[in-house]
Symmetry: C2
Subunit: 335 residues, 2 copies
């Protein structure tokens, strides 16, 4: 399959480079959001809005706007809204995980405790949904609201199914679609909608975002198992300790015999002994890691097919480039 | 002042009785909301949606609808949306306060921990804002979104200003307006909006809700100081332990001399010795409690003036009746 064999990006240029000026405006706009809050709340919002992020969702909406007729302020704005929802979920995730740092700086949870962080996430969240009403389009409010609901539900299911070895792969994919796919797909789909693209183009771009988000999350899951902390710059090997079942582990469980399953259960559920390098070694030996990476590469191939509806443009190229870029990262996880 | 002297409700009938059938439909609709969630999330939402509540916000929107032309399904729906936002904030409040029971049943926090409760509140919240898009009115989405934002900001300021004796009375009132007034005012104001009432009537009903919510919160604050747990049915005297400054205490601080202020600071900030019955006795002796109750009664009088724009009706009467009912409760706090 072409999608699995050609995994070299066709260019070394990072695909977001094309829209760097627009991303800088997004960054300024995110910082500007503090002004919409009561002065007593400003410092908290400001702290969160000034921490850096990859801004993947705004980049996707801008690139999709450019690929469907041209980037407008509306594409930047929808990117800001989706990024604020994402930021709200990060603030809340950090409470749930008891995380003390994110991207090298103390989390809101570490700085002000869980109580204030719960409320800060809520404030960002409700602000984002208020901001969506600026479009004067009930359709856009509805789509943003639904995406936010999906993200929340995905997080609930993920939290609830920790240490649950009956989790099926279908359920795992559904969680990834909800918690990461929904916002990626909103970024690409809404951008097409704002450009006045055809229903088919909007749907194809929505599908592209959904699969890209899912593949990205599979990459993140694999990275947690096999990545190098020095290179990645964040704490790894935490998923299994928290009982989070990822695709390589689900693949391993699927192909295990009864005795093996019992051993895995003991290691994962009772964490005795949870020797992660050994478990990763087994997952790799059994092809479970490889199979997870293959699944993600297939999704990226399918993303590229979705892009075939777009007229040729630098922005459409960059959207394709993202899939090659992520594909190359996936390949680095192969042992 | 008439508002302060005539404090007897003109009827013994509880003012929500008039709309009991509609409130039963609201109750059923709240229970029905679980169907909108992924099956894995349903049990959590169901638990929260099946716990009882006073349903003040839906009652206000239904009564205001009836008082501005007639109750429609839209008035019930906006009541459900505002109640869901309120429920989301209660779920989050219980995390912040570490509360184990609410209305006699275990809180979500006690049942499933803070992590899941954070997400459950988020899911209710995003669902409510999604539901608002059903009206196909950007105006309604905007007003609901802004109210939600106000509530979150009010809660942040309240949390942030705990144990802060520099809190002014103006700031205290602003917090009450944000955390309780905003949703009450949305219930009454949006109901008038949905009835197609004039801008003036909508504004007057909005003002009625804002002051009613503020007076209600002052009552709640006084009750925490002087209420009887047997009668009220919930744990009292917790505000000061949590550093929450209420109107009687702010009144007391305002009239205190330097030596008294230093004593109060020691008791409130360092909690040494925090003998609450003594503190309440002092607040009462100095007239600080009475003054807080007077303030709330004045607000209720002003609420009644706002209602003067309404044509006579049973529903308009019931809205007025609420102010007398709350007024009578306030009087019970006088020693």
């Amino acid at each position: 399959m072409a999608a699995k064999t050609s995994t070299t990006p066709r260019s070394d240029r990072f695909p977001f480079e094309l829209v760097r000026p627009e991303l800088e405006r997004v960054e300024a706009s995110i910082r500007d959001q503090v002004r919409a809050f009561d002065s007593a709340v400003e410092p908290y919002v400001s702290y969160v809005c000034n921490t850096s992020g990859k801004r993947i969702r705004p980049a996707l909406s801008i690139l999709s706007g450019g690929a469907t007729g041209g980037v407008t302020d509306d594409h930047l704005k929808v990117g800001v809204i989706l990024e604020l929802i994402h930021m709200a979920t990060l603030v809340h995730d950090d409470i749930i995980d008891g995380a003390s740092t994110r991207r090298m700086v103390p989390t809101a949870n570490a700085k002000w405790g869980a109580g204030l962080s719960v409320l800060l996430g809520d404030a960002l969240f409700s602000h984002a949904l208020s901001l969506a009403t600026d479009f004067n389009s009930i359709d856009i409010c509805r789509k943003v609201g639904q995406a936010a609901r999906e993200v929340c539900q995905g997080e609930i299911i993920q939290t609830q199914r920790r240490f649950d070895l009956t989790l099926t792969k279908a359920e795992y994919f559904r969680v990834l679609e909800m918690k990461t796919g929904a916002l990626f797909a909103s970024a690409t789909g809404l951008a097409a909608h704002l450009s006045g693209a055809s229903a088919d183009t909007e749907q194809r771009l929505f599908n592209y975002g959904m699969k890209l988000g899912t593949a990205y999350q599979i990459y993140d899951d694999c990275l947690d198992l096999v990545g190098s902390e020095d290179v990645v710059g964040k704490t790894l090997r935490t998923d299994l300790e928290k009982g989070k079942l990822t695709l390589p582990i689900l693949n391993l469980l699927e192909t295990s015999n009864e005795a093996q399953r019992s051993k895995l259960t003991k290691r994962i559920v009772n964490q005795e002994p949870l020797d992660l390098p050994v478990l990763v070694g087994i997952a790799e030996y059994e092809g479970a890691l490889e199979s997870a990476l293959d699944t993600a590469q297939e999704m990226l191939g399918s993303c590229r097919e979705d892009l075939s509806v777009l007229a040729p443009s630098d922005h459409a190229d960059a959207l394709e480039q993202i899939t090659w870029f992520l594909g190359a990262l996936l390949e680095k996880c192969r042992r």
